[in-house]
């Protein structure tokens, strides 16, 4: 078990900088999730920690020891690949024990460790199968088993669920969460699925274009996003954003309506432009809203338990409102969506949060 620390870690391919000065500290036993849009550098960052990618500048340490020049196999990490990367000509047992056999461990120890991992992952019956004779979910478990057998200080996962169907993905997600609970190792997990991130993580690292946008517990990111990007990325459906103008001290005008500003009067000059964010699920939750906004309904999505009302504000900006009970609401109708001022977030023209 170990602390993983990155100090000004940087990665460039030739003249192109992919990772810019990332500072990060993942505590012992923590489950950290890297999220971000495709191409933002999640895999690259993970592979730098694994040692599969060299570090251009800065320092990575695991368990207090600088590992920039340590061989991947000696960093005490195990990785689960998106493609599983199982050795196709080896059986399940051979796959899981490969590292130990190469490391010339005693046979009794190898058998013991493989048996333990197989029991945890219910792979006992499949020991002599080859990867081609396994289902996707089983391959996934073998890949995780191979990582467990190595008894690493840090587990690294690169989008391990993206090749599974929706049902299996949820089940395996739960398995991984349980595994973390029982093993207690530090785990770093890459995904672009914010639901996976929210459900699994102790801490989420939101990445964008090779920079850390925010780092913190899931609820903290949900409640207190530092910027528009994080606010929009965390949560589903996405947070609604509206253009606002600071009227006079303490008042914001959005779509022709005026509201008390959700930030202190000192932080914004009258006349400056701001972005106001409200999550779909934060509308109409309270019988006594602080304010309401007029919404022209475009169409309604019924999900059973809840419904999403897609509509437009008076000035044409799009909005999604989540309601439990919509009755027979039709498109073309107008509704009033109420909200509490404590649920409103505001961002300046550069996208940074203003409080």
């Amino acid at each position: 078990m170990a602390i993983v620390e990155l100090k000004k870690a940087k990665k460039s391919y030739g003249a192109v900088d992919i990772i810019h000065d990332v500072d990060l500290r993942i505590e012992d036993g923590e489950f950290a999730v890297f999220v971000g849009p495709s191409g933002c550098g999640k895999s690259t960052l993970l592979r730098m920690i694994a040692g599969l990618e060299s570090v251009t500048a800065g320092e990575i340490s695991i368990d207090g020891e600088g590992v920039n020049h340590v061989d991947p196999s000696e960093r005490g990490v195990a990785m689960v690949f998106q493609s599983y990367a199982l050795y196709p000509h080896m059986t399940v047992k051979e796959n899981m024990s490969f590292g130990l056999r190469i490391g010339k461990r005693p046979k009794a120890e190898i058998d013991e460790r493989v048996a333990v991992a197989s029991r945890i992952l219910q792979l006992d019956q499949l020991q002599d199968r080859r990867p081609s004779q396994l289902s996707g979910g089983q391959r996934q478990r073998v890949a995780i088993g191979r990582a467990i057998v190595r008894n690493p200080k840090v587990f690294l996962f690169d989008e391990p669920l993206s090749n599974l169907d929706a049902e299996l993905r949820v089940a395996t997600r739960v398995e991984i969460a349980k595994l973390h609970e029982s093993l207690g190792n530090t785990m770093i997990y890459v995904t672009h699925d914010q639901t996976e991130a929210m459900t699994l993580a102790d801490k989420i690292v939101v990445l964008r274009k090779g920079r850390v946008e925010q780092f913190g517990p899931p609820l903290e990111l949900y409640e207190n996003p530092d910027n528009v990007f994080v606010a929009g990325f965390i949560g589903s459906p996405k947070m609604n954003f509206f253009n606002g103008t600071v009227e006079k001290s303490g008042i914001v005008r959005v779509a022709g309506a005026e509201f008390p500003a959700p930030f202190s009067a000192k932080t914004s000059q009258p006349g400056s432009l701001v972005t106001i964010g409200i999550r779909p699920e934060h509308f109409d939750r309270d019988a006594t809203p602080d304010a309401t906004i007029d919404v022209l309904v475009d169409f309604v999505e019924h999900l059973g338990g809840t419904s999403f009302i897609h509509g437009r504000l008076a000035d044409g900006e799009r909005i999604i409102v989540e309601r439990r009970d919509v009755g027979d609401l039709k498109s073309g109708k107008s509704i009033k969506a109420g909200f509490k001022m404590k649920d409103v977030r505001a961002f300046d023209a550069a996208g940074l949060r203003i409080r």
Binding site: A50, P72, S73, M79
Partner: protein, 279 residues
């Protein structure tokens, strides 16, 4: 769409092959003459000719040497040009050059290299051994003539195998190597446990193709040694050629062709069965 291709294949490949069987049962000659059915006489004559057996032995010897040398070299070069080295495309092109060079040109080049006693190869050997190893009469000595042919044949033809190996190497997923690195596998172990098993199908293909090619050895020998010295480089195809075109006995030559076909067929089938994944 397929019809023209099929027609061409049928007319130029299948038809001559099918026709050669009835021809092998006649005394047909190169010049037009009345043809007589002779049954299996031609086959008996071939199979009782010591030169044929010598040719078969030679070509087997050639194959046993050239397959590992040529495939091994091709694999080594494929591994080399599969690396991320600067000038990789230059090497890829340069290493493929011999394969597109006419075999006749290759023979002239190597004929010069092999010259006795002062050819470049002998000079290099003399230089490297401080004159201890005397000059070798590469093509003139029955002991070294076949190995010399092996050397030049492998050099000329490895490009094709190299390209096939390269394709095979690129078909092995890169993350297997990364997983093996994380598992602590050394470079050699990564080759042994990832590359080598990953090339299984490629190997089967390459070895069978090379074997078939080797059994058809002819041009090099015909240009450089004409089967000599002392029949040490006589090959089956060369035997067929001398019977058919020099001796003008087409029926007899057809019998040799049919026999060679079945030998190659059996060997390929056996190789495939042996090399196939046991599980």
């Amino acid at each position: 769409m397929l019809l023209p291709a099929c027609a061409i294949v049928a007319f130029f490949l299948l038809l001559p092959f099918v026709l050669s069987f009835p021809m092998s049962l006649t005394n047909r000659r190169l010049i037009p003459r009345p043809v007589r059915f002779v049954g299996f006489d031609n086959y008996i004559q071939v199979l009782t000719d010591p030169i044929f057996w010598r040719a078969l032995f030679n070509v087997t010897y050639f194959t046993v040497l050239v397959v590992p040398v040529q495939c091994g070299f091709a694999l080594a070069m494929a591994l080399l040009i599969n690396q991320k080295i600067p000038g990789r495309n230059f090497f890829r092109g340069a290493l493929f050059l011999p394969a597109i060079t006419s075999i006749a040109v290759v023979c002239v080049i190597w004929g010069t290299l092999f010259q006795y006693p002062t050819g470049p190869l002998n000079q290099i050997i003399g230089f490297l051994t401080f004159g201890l190893a005397g000059p070798i009469d590469w093509l003139g000595n029955p002991n070294s003539s076949m190995p010399a042919i092996v050397l030049l044949s492998a050099w000329q033809a490895y490009g094709f195998q190299m390209v096939v190996y390269l394709a095979g190497l690129q078909g092995i997923p890169g993350d297997l190597y990364e997983a093996a690195r994380l598992d602590g596998a050394s470079t050699w172990q990564r080759f042994r446990f990832v590359t080598w098993p990953g090339l299984r199908q490629t190997n089967i293909f390459v070895i069978i193709i090379t074997t078939i090619q080797a059994f058809k050895l002819f041009t090099q020998v015909n240009i450089l040694t004409q089967g000599g010295p002392r029949d040490s480089t006589v090959t089956v195809v060369q035997y067929m050629y001398s019977v058919g075109f020099v001796g003008q006995k087409l029926g007899l030559a057809s019998a040799v062709a049919i026999i060679l076909f079945f030998i190659v067929l059996v060997i390929s089938l056996v190789q495939r069965a042996v090399l196939r994944d046991p599980k």
